[in-house]
């Protein structure tokens, strides 16, 4: 598996590379120190997995992820956060990250998360579940999220089942226990989680599309195209 590591601390980049390459599963094909370099490296090396630090100066995490996925749509993004600050992590996931890991995670945890993400399974920690719960609640209440205007389009809503799954994950239940409690299979739980992620990303993509359309329409009105 080919990996791109984006982090502004050389010490961390080296550490992550050592952890990933220890078992021979992963190969770090490129490193970058900020979002712009990362996008360039992605274009050049086309990695399968991108590990991105959230607390870099310059381009925000969400923006970097958006651009990276435009360059290499098939890549998966796993975000590394030193602190798990809520808005940054949510933005990252909405922009297309498959989950986040605290930087204080062990090498074993890192490799397991990387493997999971490459397989297409989001890394869904209890803290992230709580953040997502909060986000959907705000969307459902019609409250503005991140200062963007509320309503306007049909916001993606969670089903009852999906909300239940979210709640159990937020309480710290591993998928197996969620499955047992809800009397469904682990596979079903995973499907629910993927659906939740998709809804989160779709709702943010709708928002971006809508804003882009609005801006486009405004421009047309101000400068009507010739003819």
């Amino acid at each position: 598996m080919r990996v791109l590591v984006v982090d502004d601390h050389p010490m961390w980049r080296e550490g992550v590379r050592a952890d990933l390459e220890r078992e021979g599963e992963f190969l770090v094909v490129a490193q970058a120190a900020d979002g712009t370099e990362g996008v360039r490296a992605a274009r050049a090396h086309r990695p399968d997995l991108v590990l991105l630090d959230l607390s870099m100066p310059g381009m925000s995490g969400g923006e970097a992820i958006g651009r990276l996925l435009v360059e290499v749509p098939a890549a998966r993004v796993l975000v590394l956060s030193a602190s798990g600050e809520a808005p940054d992590v949510l933005d990252a996931v909405k922009a297309g990250a498959s989950g986040y890991l605290l930087k204080s995670s062990t090498a074993v945890e890192l490799r397991a998360a990387a493997r999971q993400v490459v397989d297409g399974e989001p890394v869904f920690s209890p803290t992230l579940a709580a953040l997502v719960l909060g986000e959907f609640r705000r969307v459902a209440a019609g409250a503005p999220t991140d200062g963007r205007p509320a309503g306007g389009h049909d916001p993606a809503r969670l089903t009852e089942r999906e909300t239940e799954v979210l709640r159990y994950v937020a309480r710290g239940y591993p998928y197996r226990d969620v499955a047992d409690t809800l009397v469904i299979s682990v596979r079903t739980v995973q499907n629910h989680v993927q659906s939740i992620f998709r809804k989160l990303q779709v709702s943010s993509r709708y928002e971006l599309m809508r804003l882009a359309l609005e801006r486009g329409l405004d421009q047309d009105r101000a400068h009507p195209p010739p003819g």
Partner: protein
């Protein structure tokens, strides 16, 4: 050096103070009294030229007005200014009819207009008064065309009214402008002092934290070398190292975040706030147990009643203490959700679990859960549910009724 709050307060007071020409108006008031005394003297001495009844009336009205001004110290709104002008115009009419030095008092009106509203207003007031004076004299038989001494007197008096109004108005404007400049400079200076004090405080704090972080790093270094020299290393030793690092990491990050946002240190609990942050309380409970890896996740957007937060926090601490004692694991998840009518808090560990045999528990003296947790939650009108499976961990769920949304404030820390 003054504290940041003192300096800040002074800066704000200065910036907000209205610009009133107070000193000028006080001076005018003194002049009014002097002239009034002179007027009264004239009436009393009974100058032959004075028409006594009108003089008396004029003196008493003027005295009443001056008394009112001294007692009420009015804000000199347009109505007050108009009244003053009217009175003085009337005085000038009287003066034209019954000559006396009643022309001195009306200058006060022109001067007050100038002091309050600037040179233009002062000129207008003076011009109005002058016009009234001249007109009154003309009506009384003064022939302007004659250009004799009396005409020159009247003209001079009218002119000096205009001059006085304009002159004092100009002075007032200049004084106010310079006062404003001084105030702005003073405000800037105080704000700079406040910032310096705040930065000073933060530096002290930063130094303290950096000190303790350096100490911790040295300790980690030392312990690391010691452990490396041991033939056999226990997990507990190494975990101790990790915990030490984690605590310092958290402290330092909190300081950095706070300084980035330029926030003051958090107010102590119960500092008269209407509500409290449950998230902060739960994070504090987690921090108090370095022997556990506690993940706190909250879906609570608003501040909750302080007592509820405090009691729930204490109950969660009890649960954590229980986990540390009995569960045999380090991993704990604390989850809180505001369900509108109820607050749900879950404390879950992935430890040994147990069979819920209350009789056996009581016998073994494991009253921790029942005692304070159930007691506290019960006092809040809520209930506790415990779920456990041997080998698959334990979950303690607290449900507490909540006041109606909107009754308390907003919790900025989300997630």
């Amino acid at each position: 050096m003054s504290t940041p709050t003192q300096a800040g307060r002074r800066a704000r007071v200065l910036a907000g103070a209205a610009s009133r020409p107070g000193a000028l108006l006080a001076g005018v008031l003194v002049v009014r009294w002097c002239v009034l005394a002179w007027l009264v003297l004239l009436v009393v001495l009974g100058d032959g030229r004075l028409h006594v009844p009108s003089g008396l009336v004029a003196a008493s009205v003027t005295a009443t007005w001056t008394l009112l001004l001294t007692w009420r110290r009015p804000p000199w709104s347009p109505s007050w200014l108009g009244a003053d002008l009217a009175l003085c115009a009337a005085l000038l009419v009287v003066a034209a009819v019954a000559p006396s030095l009643a022309t001195v008092y009306p200058v006060a009106a022109a001067v007050t207009w100038g002091a309050v509203a600037g040179a233009r207003a002062g000129t207008v007031a003076g011009a109005v008064l002058g016009a009234v004076y001249v007109t009154a004299h003309v009506i009384e038989g003064l022939t302007l065309a004659a250009v004799d001494e009396s005409v020159l007197d009247v003209a001079g008096d009218s002119f000096s009214l205009v001059l006085a109004g304009a002159g004092v108005g100009l002075v007032s404007t200049l004084v106010q402008r310079s006062e404003a400049a001084v105030r702005a400079a003073e405000g800037d200076r105080l704000r700079a002092v406040e910032r310096a004090a705040r930065l000073g405080e933060r530096e002290v704090l930063a130094r303290q934290v950096h000190d303790s972080v350096l100490q911790a790093l040295t300790l980690v270094h030392k312990r690391g070398r010691e452990l490396a020299a041991q033939p056999v290393v226990g997990p507990a030793d190494v975990q101790g190292l990790a915990d030490l690092a984690a605590t310092q990491e958290r402290d330092l990050r909190e300081l950095l975040l706070r300084s980035r946002r330029e926030e003051p240190a958090p107010a102590p609990a119960g500092a008269g706030h209407a509500g409290a942050s449950l998230r902060q309380r739960l994070l504090a409970a987690a921090a108090a147990r370095p022997g556990l890896d506690v993940q706190v996740s909250t879906v609570v957007d608003r501040l909750l009643p302080a007592r509820l937060v405090s009691e729930v926090g204490a109950a969660v601490e009890e649960c954590l203490s229980n986990v540390e004692r009995h569960a045999g694991t380090r991993s704990v998840w604390v989850f809180a959700e505001d369900e509108g009518v109820e607050l749900v808090v879950s404390v879950r560990d992935d430890g040994a679990g147990f069979v819920l045999d209350e009789a056996r528990m009581e016998a073994a003296g494991r009253m921790g859960l029942r005692g304070s947790v159930v007691g506290r939650v019960g006092d809040l009108g809520g209930r506790v549910e415990v779920r456990s499976t041997p080998g698959r961990g334990t979950e303690v769920e607290l449900r507490v009724p909540l006041p109606v949304a909107g009754a308390v404030g907003h919790d900025g820390a989300r997630g």
